[in-house]
Symmetry: C2
Subunit: 279 residues, 2 copies
C-alpha cells in the first residue's frame, strides 16, 4: 500500500491505497500550525503503514529534489506557513520515503492516470476556487520547470475589471476565482444558481485563461475542477466560449470536469508514491 497527503489551502487529506483506489482516508483542517498538521498525518500513517508517501501541497513550494529547500513552502501570505519545511516535518515523524509536488500537479497526475484524462499524455489540471492554479503533464511527465507553474497569474484580456489579485489585479486568479466572482456579483458563487447570466461572463473569463494556456502548452485535454471550477453551469458554457476565443486558429483541447472529483489530488499523490517506489 502507498500513501498520499494533499495539503490544500484549507483542508488536508491523508489516504492509503494503490492503483488509484483509496482504502482509508482522513481529513483535517490545514490550519496555521505545521507541526500540529504533521503530527496528525503521522498518527494516520502510524495506523496505516505504507511503503512510500506522495505529498501534493499548496504553493508556492519547492518541488525540486535537487534543491536545498526541497519540500519547503516558500513565501506565502498564509499565516504560519511561510518558509516551513513541510517535507522535513513529515519525514521526521513518518518512516517512509516521500516525494513532493504541488497539489494541482498531483491532481493532474490523478486525473491523467485514473480520472477524466486517462490516456492523455498532454494534460492540464486547473482548479478554480479560492484561488486559481494549474498543473501540467507534458508527454507523460510532470511539468515543474524552474519552480512550478503559477497559471493563476497569467495576464488576461480586457473582459472584466475589478480583479482581486493583490499582485496583478486583473490576472486569471484575480478575475476568475471564487472571491473575484463574489466581488463582481455581490454574493458568493455558491449562491449563484446555474441559470444566472453571471455564468456567461465567468465562462468567458475562464475561457480566456484556457486560451492562453492552450497556446503555450498545447494540451490535448484540460480538466477544470475546484469548488467553482466544478460547477456544471460553467462546464456547460466553457467549450463554446473557448472555441470562440481560439477562433479556429488552434484546435480546442477536450474540456472535462474531474473524474475523481475532490479526490484527484490525494489519488495523484499516492500514485506519485507508487510510481516512485516501483521505479
Amino acid at each position: 500500500m502507498f500513501g498520499g497527503i494533499e495539503t490544500g489551502g484549507t483542508k488536508t487529506v491523508c489516504a492509503v491505497g494503490a492503483d488509484g483506489a483509496v482504502e482509508h482516508r482522513a481529513q483535517f483542517p490545514t490550519g496555521e500550525d505545521a507541526d500540529a498538521l504533521a503530527d496528525r498525518c503521522a498518527e494516520f500513517f502510524a495506523a496505516h503503514p505504507v511503503r512510500s508517501i506522495g505529498v501534493g501541497t499548496f504553493g508556492p513550494c519547492d518541488p525540486d529534489p535537487g534543491s536545498a529547500t526541497y519540500g519547503h513552502i516558500l513565501n506565502t501570505p498564509k499565516p504560519g506557513w511561510s518558509g516551513v519545511d513541510l517535507l522535513g516535518k513529515l519525514a521526521a515523524r513518518v518512516d517512509a520515503p516521500m516525494v513532493l509536488t504541488t497539489d494541482v500537479t498531483a491532481a493532474a497526475i490523478g486525473e491523467q492516470r485514473y480520472g477524466a484524462g486517462r490516456g492523455n499524455q498532454n494534460l492540464v489540471y486547473l482548479t478554480i476556487g479560492t484561488g486559481v492554479g494549474g498543473g501540467a503533464i507534458v508527454d507523460g511527465r510532470v511539468l515543474h520547470g524552474r519552480t512550478h507553474p503559477e497559471m493563476g497569474h497569467i495576464l488576461m484580456p480586457d473582459i472584466a475589471t475589478g480583479g482581486v489579485c493583490p499582485y496583478h489585479g486583473d490576472c486569471f486568479e484575480g478575475l476568475a476565482s471564487g472571491p473575484a466572482m463574489a466581488a463582481r456579483e455581490g454574493r458568493p458563487a455558491q449562491e449563484i444558481p446555474d441559470d444566472d447570466p453571471a455564468w456567461d461572463l465567468e465562462a468567458r473569463i475562464v475561457a480566456a485563461g484556457l486560451h492562453s494556456i492552450t497556446c503555450t502548452l498545447s494540451p490535448r485535454c484540460i480538466i477544470v475542477g475546484g469548488g467553482l471550477g466544478s460547477r456544471s453551469a460553467l462546464h456547460t458554457l466553457l467549450p463554446e466560449s473557448l472555441s470562440r476565443s481560439l477562433a479556429g486558429y488552434v484546435p480546442a483541447p477536450l474540456l472535462a470536469a474531474p473524474g475523481l472529483g475532490a479526490d484527484a489530488g490525494v489519488i495523484g499523490a499516492l500514485t506519485l508514491a507508487q510510481d516512485h517506489s516501483q521505479g
Copy 2:
C-alpha cells in the same frame, strides 16, 4: 556530419555540420513552390552528404512522428503551403533519415545546447518579427504537446489596442510583431531608433507576453530573438518591464538575446539530427 534545414516564413537555410558548428551553409527564399524548395535542398545535400537531417519549419505543422500527417504543413495563409507534405517532398529527394519540428523549437534546441541558454533544462525561445512564435524545452526535452505551442496567440492585457492578428486582434502577435509595431508607430520597426520612446510600449507589450509564458511554463531562461526581438532597444528595457509585470510573485527568468544569432534555428535542426542518429 549532420544536416539542418530551417524553412522560415521568408527564407530557408540548409547547413551541414556537427556539435553546433556549421561547415557549409546555403540560403534561398522559401517561396510559394514547395517542390522547387525541396529541389534546392536536395541539390545542397547532394553536394554535402550527411548521416541524417533535422528540419525546423514554420508552422502550423505536424511534428508528431506517430501521426499520418507527420511533417505536413497544416492550414496556413501562406500561399502554396497549406497541407503540403514538406517532409515527404524532402524524403523523396534526399536519402537520409529525417526528423522534423517547428522552426522555433529548433531554435530553442540550438540555444539550449550551444547558445545563450547553455545548461538550462527549462528554456523558451521566442521570436518576434513578422510574427511571434515560441518553442520550449521542458526538463531537457522538446515540448510539442498535442500539436505544438502557438505562443504568439496568447491573449494580452489592455496595454495597447489596434492589434493586427486576423484571428485574435490584440493577441501577443497581434500587438508585439513587427507589423503591429509598424501599424502603431506609422513606420517600420527597422526605422525606429533605439532611443525612441516607442520601445517603452513595445517592451511593456512583450513583457506581458513573457509574464504569461513564465507563469505557465516556469522556464529558467527565455531567449528573445527574431528581427524585432533581437533589437538592443528592446533587450535593454525588457528585464525591468518583466519584473514590474510579475510584481515579485514569481521570480523572473533570465532574459537573453540569441547566442547563435540568426543561426539558432538551423544549428538546432542539425543538433536534432545528430541527437536522433546518436540515440
